[in-house]
């Protein structure tokens, strides 16, 4: 469970994220959408404890990411925008290092390693040097790294970027299967991805939440694309239209 509460982040005079709140329930996949520069990465960095918020907070399974940072961080698996690989290490050595860092008990490291190599399709790759892997495989190693300690909360920043269509399909399947009782937040700007695997969608634009809704509650017959475009343009025009209004309008337009 992730609760984001009134998050605001300012870099000097520039406000990247403005009073963002949303909730991701246990066992659900939340799709975090927004145009480039909307504040997706900033929000995810705050959720994972990489950077502090100017105001507001985040609760990870009820633990505050600021005041109970270590305990909260223990629950998170995080794939940043750029997979955080040490380019001169071998895949296997790298994943073992992350496992230790994430507190996987020594006796369980080998089985955890085998497991993530298997699920991320890296069984042929353990001895390859990270820097020599293609973009798609780096992404997989990044995902393996986020999964190695079997975290209850997964934060994935554009997990399918740079992959070929087959890989995208595989990774989506993987994320879908992973969810189980995990909470997954993934950011993307590929809209079909959200309609395929997510339970809930949060759209932000210019640092504000413009829509938070369960996918099954979205008006029937409207494409996510319309909703998305409408939500972000509405935001630009009227600055702060409520989600309900946005939905109503889109729904009305198509029925």
């Amino acid at each position: 469970m992730i609760e984001v509460k009134n998050l605001t982040k300012a870099y000097g005079n520039f406000v990247a994220v403005r009073d963002v709140s949303f909730k991701a329930e246990n066992g659900s996949i939340l799709g975090f959408l927004g145009p480039n520069g909307a504040g997706k990465t900033t929000t995810m960095r705050i959720i994972t404890g990489y950077m502090p918020a100017t105001a507001g907070t985040v609760l990870i399974d009820g633990l505050d990411i600021f005041s109970q940072s270590l305990e909260a961080r223990r629950k998170i698996g995080y794939l940043p925008e750029n997979p955080p690989l040490y380019l001169d290490m071998r895949v296997e050595a790298y994943l073992r290092f992350v496992a230790k860092l994430r507190g996987v008990p020594r006796a369980k490291i080998e089985s955890a390693l085998d497991h993530v190599l298997e699920v991320c399709g890296l069984t042929d790759m353990p001895h390859r040097i990270c820097g020599q892997l293609s973009k798609g495989y780096r992404q997989r190693v990044g995902l393996a790294q986020a999964l190695i300690h079997d975290p209850p909360v997964l934060v994935l920043d554009e997990p399918t970027i740079g992959l070929d269509p087959r890989q995208i399909h595989e990774i989506r399947d993987l994320i879908h299967h992973l969810s189980g009782n995990r909470t997954v937040v993934l950011s993307t700007h590929i809209l079909p991805e959200v309609s395929q695997i997510c339970d809930k969608v949060v759209i932000i634009a210019d640092g504000r939440v413009v829509l938070e809704e369960y996918l099954k509650k979205l008006p029937a017959g409207t494409s996510l694309e319309d909703i998305f475009l409408n939500a972000i343009t509405k935001e630009r025009h009227e600055d702060g239209a409520s989600a309900e209004e946005t939905l109503e309008e889109v729904g009305a337009g198509h029925t």
Binding site: P80, P84, L85, K100
Partner: protein, 257 residues
């Protein structure tokens, strides 16, 4: 502690996955060997000259340690001013640039543990390198009869000096994501430690005393001449402590609101 050792292990093996460590070690040992050879050769020439003059009093004062090991250690200390920044510049700057910093800072570990891990690895690297340079006095022991205690004290001084240097290198690396900036500012600070007492000649007062205390060559020279004084050890330990403390604050500052 366990986390620090995990990071230290990764860092230390990381040094040897890159050619930089081998180049630094090779340069250090080659220059060390050159100094050793040149100084020993000069010592031999002097010895032959004084023997020919049949001057037993001067001959008595010719000391292998004073003439060979001491100047060699002083030269190696200067070499370290240039080599240490090359070793430590990557430590934080590279992680920030490649994004692995995000992995470290979101892992359930304290920033102190990250700094300690990187420090242990860099210090261990220096000890390995200086340990290998221990072959020079061993050659003297094998073929002559030098004062082992004095040589040990000198090497201990070089070890303390190198560990203080890497602490300062970690600090400058933690301030930037640009390795060149990290290396050059580290080099500047290290060189400053050598020359900081220059303007204090003939002066007095608390500030002058402080600046004189900060001057590294005096403390190092003491140990090289065989005097292990707690004041000098405290000097090196406090340099290490202050540099690591500042590094920890600098890394932690990423979490400040």
């Amino acid at each position: 502690m366990k986390n620090s050792l995990t990071i230290a292990g990764k860092e230390l093996s990381g040094y040897f996955l890159q050619p930089v460590a081998y180049v630094v070690m090779t340069v250090f040992l080659l220059l060390g060997g050159f100094f050793f050879f040149a100084l020993l050769r000069y010592f031999e020439v002097t010895l032959t000259a004084y023997s020919a003059m049949q001057n037993p009093e001067v001959l008595q004062r010719l000391n292998l340690n004073e003439r060979v090991i001491e100047p060699m250690l002083h030269n190696l200390a200067i070499v370290l001013v240039i080599l240490v920044p090359a070793i430590t510049m990557r430590s934080f700057a590279e992680e920030k640039r490649t994004g692995t910093y995000e992995l470290l800072l979101t892992a359930p570990i304290r920033t102190g543990e990250i700094v300690a891990g990187k420090f242990i690895a860099a210090a261990a690297f220096m000890l390995i390198m200086i340990g290998l340079a221990g072959m020079f006095p061993l050659i003297l022991v094998a073929f002559g009869n030098p004062e082992v205690g004095v040589m040990f004290s000198g090497y201990l001084g070089l070890a303390f000096l190198s560990i203080a240097f890497v602490s300062i290198g970690l600090f400058t690396s933690s301030l930037t994501q640009n390795q060149i900036i990290a290396a050059i500012s580290c080099f500047g600070l290290l060189l400053l430690l050598f020359v900081i007492s220059w303007p204090t000649q003939g002066g007095g007062g608390a500030l002058v005393d402080l600046v004189r205390y900060l001057s590294l060559p005096d403390h190092f020279a003491q140990m090289v001449t065989g005097i292990i004084d707690t004041r000098d050890i405290v000097y090196f330990l406090s340099l290490i402590f202050v540099a690591l403390f500042l590094t920890q604050r600098s890394v932690e500052s990423a979490r400040w609101r």
